[in-house]
């Protein structure tokens, strides 16, 4: 059990790292891109640009959450 916990913790630290919001941002951006793709309205070039914009936006939001002023 302890081994499994350590094993899971290692992979969590390795993949997710010290800020889970980044991983969530990437997954959400790609999920939205998938939804746009499924509409079937756009060509490859548009989808690729939309994907890039989504990822840049998602990262910006995650960083903005990270540095928002905290109430003291």
């Amino acid at each position: 059990m302890r081994f499994l916990k350590s094993f899971g913790q290692f992979w969590y630290d390795f993949v997710i790292g010290d800020d889970w919001k980044i991983a969530v941002a990437v997954v959400l951006a790609l999920a939205v891109l998938l939804a746009v793709l499924s509409l079937g309205l756009f060509g490859d070039a548009t989808l690729a640009v939309v994907g890039g914009v989504l990822l840049v936006g998602a990262f910006s939001v995650s960083l903005a959450i990270d540095v928002r002023p905290t109430k003291s």
Binding site: I16, L30, A45, L47, L63
Partner: protein, 265 residues
């Protein structure tokens, strides 16, 4: 050799260089304060395990995954790694996070090594385990970068050359100066690697979304590979905007303690 191959070698070289500097600091601390024999045995064991992991992962990823799925998984993971590095670089450049300091890390490792008890056997288990863990953890990121960049560019040997060159150069410098490699601007290198990983990750992850459409063909970026340069510029500009917007007033102590302070790897 074409520009793409040079780009591949450069990317893996810089990424591996940064990780090697961190691993070398840990091993030197163990070697100088406790036992070189045990520390180097830990290094050898970690390299052996990494070699096995590389072989298995490289074979499995290259054989079993369709191209678009590979791009999506690898691109997504590279993106997460790259954006983590970029986030740290932005926070460090804007003064909201302590700058990575190899000298400080070396001192911490030395203190830990001195305070740990000695084991009875011929092998000093503390030196062995700390060196093993340091090399294995830093090496895993290198292995991942080499495999992913190599497979996507269909040139694993070129990616390996970049990583191997970094290993040789870092070890050469460490052997020559015999002290922590704090003269290397690791934060700047990490910033660069973060930008590279974020750009390649964005490119591949978006391409890989094509796995979900009929035919499972990758999406095509406008301009194909040239789009990576555009992505690099976008991530760089965004990071500079964030650094400017988040910059805090300089204080006499660069390592800030406060709400944003974290344990630095």
């Amino acid at each position: 050799m074409d520009a793409a191959t040079w780009g591949l070698i450069t990317a893996t070289f810089v990424a591996c260089f940064v990780e090697m500097v961190e691993a070398t600091t840990i091993v030197m601390a163990m070697g100088y304060t406790r036992s070189w024999r045990s520390a180097l045995t830990g290094v050898a064991a970690a390299l052996a395990v990494l070699a096995v992991v590389t072989s298995i992962a490289g074979y499995a990823l290259g054989r079993w995954f369709p191209e678009a799925a590979l791009q999506l998984v690898i691109g997504g993971l590279l993106l997460i790694f790259g954006l983590q590095w970029l986030r740290k670089a932005i926070l460090r450049s804007s003064g909201r996070k302590a700058v990575h300091d190899e000298d400080a890390i070396y001192r911490e490792e030395v203190e830990a090594a001195k305070s740990a008890g000695h084991s009875a056997g011929r092998l000093d288990m503390f030196s062995f385990m700390v060196s093993f863990k340091g090399v294995f953890l830093e090496g895993m990121e290198v292995v991942f970068i080499v495999i992913t960049f190599g497979l996507n560019a269909d040139n694993v040997p070129a990616a390996s050359v970049g990583a191997a060159a970094a290993v040789v150069i870092v070890l050469g410098i460490a052997f020559a100066v015999r002290r922590p490699l704090s003269m290397i601007d690791e934060n700047l290198l990490k910033y660069g690697v973060g930008l590279l990983l974020a750009s390649f990750g964005t490119y591949w992850a978006v391409e890989g979304i094509g796995i979900f459409r009929a035919g499972q063909e990758s999406l095509e970026w406008p301009g194909h590979d040239v789009a990576i340069v555009g992505l690099l510029m976008v991530w760089f500009l965004l990071s500079r905007v964030f650094v400017s917007a988040l910059r805090t007033p300089r204080t006499s102590t660069p390592a800030l303690a406060g709400p944003f302070e974290e344990n630095v790897r």
